[in-house]
């Protein structure tokens, strides 16, 4: 049937000699076509006019749109790339784009960017210093870190520049200042972390002001009666210890004396250990002071070195003392 259906279709489409067996079928098709196309088609002038005018009217607008839309799309794409490239750093994929845009003045040049970074770092550093003075240490630390971060970025950017010695100097200065401020902040935080009522040898002494004299002063630390760990001799170590940290580095032998108390604020040579907790008389706040001292030791290697020297001196003095009268600690050079 496939062949006959194909042959019939061919006859209906193209005409030709009709085989006898298909003649009735072709005749049926002819009559059907006559029937279906006999009806007159009404005049459709209004529909025609609407269609033609609609085609003409609507397409002009869209042609304009076809021209303009790609231009807008391209401009938007370039704008996005330029925006993204504007904040790229050396090594980023878009950095070459930014470099080119900077050269032609479309975006910031690298030098401008370094200047901006320096300006921001300066602002952060100033704010950090102010916060530090107000003893807002966390805020000061954050600001100082931000300042330091800006200087690092500026340092990276400077690698792309020649003949920018002045900028390099500025960045180096800022970096040094920010680092120093951070050190100060860390130190101040450590001081705060060690409570005032610490025992002798507390690290916050600085100048050794909390000398352990008076028994009535429960904060006093060294030698005070209330301090359960009466630990020996810290007291005001301003005399002896080279370090502000009082801590009696007198070694374990001292605590037997339990003394050094009172008036004998004998820090003296036995003091000054960075690790003041090691010394006797560290009292109930030993743990906290240990933490603080550990942190400090990490942060300040030089101080640790000094402290070790001082501890050695203290040990030597203690031995001398033991050889003498075997009494309490603290040579008490004061």
């Amino acid at each position: 049937m496939s062949d006959r259906s194909r042959e019939l279709d061919k006859l209906l489409s193209s005409g030709g000699d009709v085989p006898a067996e298909l003649a009735p079928t072709v005749e049926a098709a002819r009559r059907l076509e006559e029937r279906l196309t006999a009806a007159p088609v009404p005049h459709a002038g209004r529909e025609r006019a609407m269609f033609v005018q609609g085609i003409a009217g609507s397409k002009r607008g869209s042609s304009f749109g076809r021209l303009v839309a790609p231009a807008f799309a391209a401009a938007a794409f370039a704008g996005i790339i330029g925006f993204l490239a504007g904040s790229s750093l050396p090594g980023d994929t878009l950095y070459p784009v930014r470099d080119v845009l900077g050269r032609v003045g479309i975006t910031h040049s690298v030098k401008d960017d370094v200047g901006d970074r320096i300006e921001r770092a300066t602002q952060f550093l100033t704010q950090a210093g102010n916060a530090f003075e107000r003893e807002q240490l966390p805020q000061a630390e954050v600001l100082a870190m931000q300042a330091l971060g800006e200087t690092y970025v500026a340092e990276d950017l400077l690698r792309e520049l020649d003949n920018a010695a002045d900028l390099r100097d500025q960045v180096a200065d800022l970096q040094a200042n920010a680092s120093k401020l951070l050190d100060d902040i860390v130190e101040a935080k450590l001081d705060l972390a060690a409570p005032d009522n610490s025992g002798p040898g507390s690290v916050n002494s600085g100048s050794g002001s909390n000398s352990g004299s008076g028994s009535g002063d429960d904060n006093s630390g060294p030698g005070s009666g209330s301090d359960d760990s009466s630990g020996s001799g810290s007291g005001s170590d301003d005399g002896g210890g080279s370090d502000d940290s009082s801590g009696p580095g007198s070694g374990g032998s001292d605590d037997s004396s339990g003394s050094g108390s009172g008036s004998d604020d004998s820090s003296g040579p036995g003091s000054g250990g960075i690790d003041d907790s090691s010394g006797p008389g560290s009292g109930g706040s030993d743990d906290r002071r240990e933490d603080a001292a550990d942190a400090r030791a990490d942060a300040e290697e030089e101080a640790a070195k000094d402290a070790e020297d001082a501890a050695e001196d203290a040990a030597k003095d203690a031995e001398d003392e033991a050889d003498g009268d075997g009494s309490g600690s603290g040579s008490g050079t004061d």
């Binding site: 049937m1 259906s5 489409s13 009735p24 059907l32 029937r35 009217g57 397409k59």
Partner: protein, 183 residues
């Protein structure tokens, strides 16, 4: 209209050229109208469907692409869908043919409804006895003037299947005409 000429005119119309749009309308409006008339049986309804078909062409000509099926197939698919929509809107699908109900429990298609409600003369009655697909092939072929390939594109069938449907439909018509002595 030859296919190359047709493509050219469609492109020109898409660019907004009035002359091309007018030529397309003049060439296809009568065929769309006759196809709709053969399906709906009402001149007014056929005019409405034909007008709406060209309005839709106007709205969507931008999106028309020559992908496999051509403009004719696209146009008459629009017209065919509008006829179906027309039946749905008019509620004529609720009309039932008692004989059809006896023969099959399936709900009637718009074409079947047309076949039973729009009997117009002997030939129309013969058409009404054909299956939906057979009748659709004959209407697209002889009232819309599409070739078998285009009919296949409108109906979603291949040309060979359309030829076989056409052959069976015409053979059935021939038999009925022989029975009534008109051939």
């Amino acid at each position: 209209m030859e296919e190359s000429r047709l493509k050219q005119q469609v492109r020109r119309a898409a660019r907004g050229e009035e002359e091309a749009a007018a030529e397309l309308f003049d060439h296809y409006y009568p065929r769309v109208y006759r196809y709709a008339l053969s399906k709906l049986g009402s001149e007014q309804d056929a005019q409405d469907v034909a007008s709406e078909a060209f309005a839709k062409v106007l709205r969507e000509l931008d999106r028309f692409r020559w992908k496999g099926s051509g403009f004719e197939a696209w146009l008459f698919r629009i017209a065919s869908n509008l006829v179906v929509d027309f039946y749905r809107r008019s509620g004529r699908e609720q009309v039932r043919d008692t004989r059809a109900e006896m023969e099959e429990a399936d709900p009637m298609t718009p074409e079947t409804v047309f076949a039973q409600t729009e009997l117009r003369g002997e030939l129309d009655g013969m058409l009404a006895e054909l299956s939906d697909d057979q009748r659709e092939v004959l209407l697209l072929r002889f009232s819309a003037g599409l070739d078998t390939h285009e009919v296949g594109r409108v109906m979603g069938r291949n040309a060979n299947a359309v030829r076989q449907l056409q052959f069976r439909a015409l053979d059935a018509l021939r038999t009925r005409m022989s029975d009534v002595g008109s051939i």
